[in-house]
Amino acid sequence: MTRDVCAPMEGKPTWMWWAALAVSTAAMLVGAAAVTYQVSTGIGTWGLNRTVGWAFDITNFVFWIGIGHAGTLISAILFLFRQRWRTAVNRSAEAMTLFAVMCAGIFPIIHMGRPWLAFFVIPYWNTRGPLWVNFRSPLVWDFFAISTYFLISAVFWYIGLIPDLATIRDREKPGLRKTVFGILSFGWNGSFRTWHHYELVYLLLAGLATPLVLSVHSIVSTDFATSVIPGWHTTIFPPYFVAGAIFSGFAMVLTLMIIVRKVMRLENYLTMRHIDAMCKLVIATSGIVAIAYATEFFTAMYSANAYEQFVFMNRALGPMNWAYWIMVGCNVITPQFLWFKKIRSNLVAVFILTIFVNIGMWFERFVIIVTSLHRDFLPSSWALYAPTPIEIATLIGSFGLFFTAFLIFCRVLPVIAMGEVKGVLTFGRRAKGATK
């Protein structure tokens, strides 16, 4: 078991890994070039206008934050619910969370236009009074939520990694790798006393991460919900955003899992049963998202508020209706194919469907942001929005960053939580007669 998981880290990488790394690094460099140009020239390089003040950038931000949610959900919430199958997927899902939150964090910072002043959101003792940040602003809440989320996820991930790093340390022959893993494993020796505290610490971190993950996207949704823009100003937003985030996150975990199990030859650990369970969660969350779309529409129609009604009719039938129907098609209609066991057991089909979900969830954020803004209260200021190549390159770059980080993670760290999987395997138990 240890050998199987460590194999991809100890052997030479395959050509597929190199090819994937080359593509994702290239994408990352395209993004870096775009961001450099944008920062040195100004936000004018984007397609924003007076009416549509938020568009591509914030869409990407919310999209990535949403992707990150499944990681913590799998590791924390499924841990609390004692879903033992999670042990195979939690490590890579947590890593995915970290990288997704990194990608997400870039967008609000570059959106500031002067990213070198980003530290102004920290309430520090400054020379402007000291003038403190406005703690009533959801944008400030967001800063606290996302930085806490990133740190707690990182700690949770690392705490889970320590026993595995020790396993690798003790497998290695003396040399640089042994020294590095020795430092990283903090002197872990599998002592009973350490495990005794460790189990409770892990449980409590999971308990803390669970409300945290729900709070993060709820707070992101208040960026919209506390405004008075029709289409944004709704109380349904926090649960709607959280459900959407989990939906998109699960889809992304599935996409990555299908690739990882193939490339890393971990079919015995990331089994069809895991994929089946994840598919079922995708159907469930797709249902929640569908109900949220319907509720939003119903509330608008029932509100007797002409602006609210107009925004929703405009979303479905206006000039940007293609985005709305991509969203509905990818998030509500195509996931329904997963009801069939035949499709759930067909990896190619699942892969394609999860890609559709990812596209659909990106468009959901685009629809919420852009269609709510582009036709505001004054028809004279109605405008359309189209992204510039710089914005598209930045999005591509964020995918590049995400996949580069993930590929490197797969190479240098164990993608499966060995210490946890061993606990649910049968090798250590005589009763099952397992031979190891």
Partner: protein, 176 residues
Amino acid sequence: MSNRYVVSLFENEHDLLEAVRTARERKFTIVDVHTPYAVHGLDAAMGARPSWMSWACAAFGLTGVTTMMAFQYWAAAVDWPVNVGGKPWNSIPAYVPVTFEAMVFAAGLGMVLTFFLACRLYPGRRARVPDPRVTDDRFAIVLEEADAAFDLDDVRRLFGRLGAVEVREHVSEVAP
């Protein structure tokens, strides 16, 4: 304190638990038990008290809540009151999200640092493992030869019967 230790290796958790129970019945001094994963039932077999990490978590969490609430109140209502849309200076409901995040932040990081300190885990610490395989697939019990009544052959026989795959003596100043 003796400087003679006995390291017994087992292949599965069932044998280990049995051996721990027997060792405790026979009043052997168990220095430590090393396992590759958290073995359920070992806490009870060792007679360990519940971990006190939950208290550390609660204490840090409460510190986070009170500090952040007090700071926001002080910053927005005392030090530099700013009129934002006519909202009261002391808008406690609006301070809840940041206070919540501060609680999670303080409780999580504080507890983990306490755990590292309590278990003396830090980067660069040399791991003292009785056998390199205990982080892979072996379960080890380390006994101290505490007094003259300790009979190594007896332990060897006893643990051999309970499924030990290896029992060896270890002589050093510090426990392995």
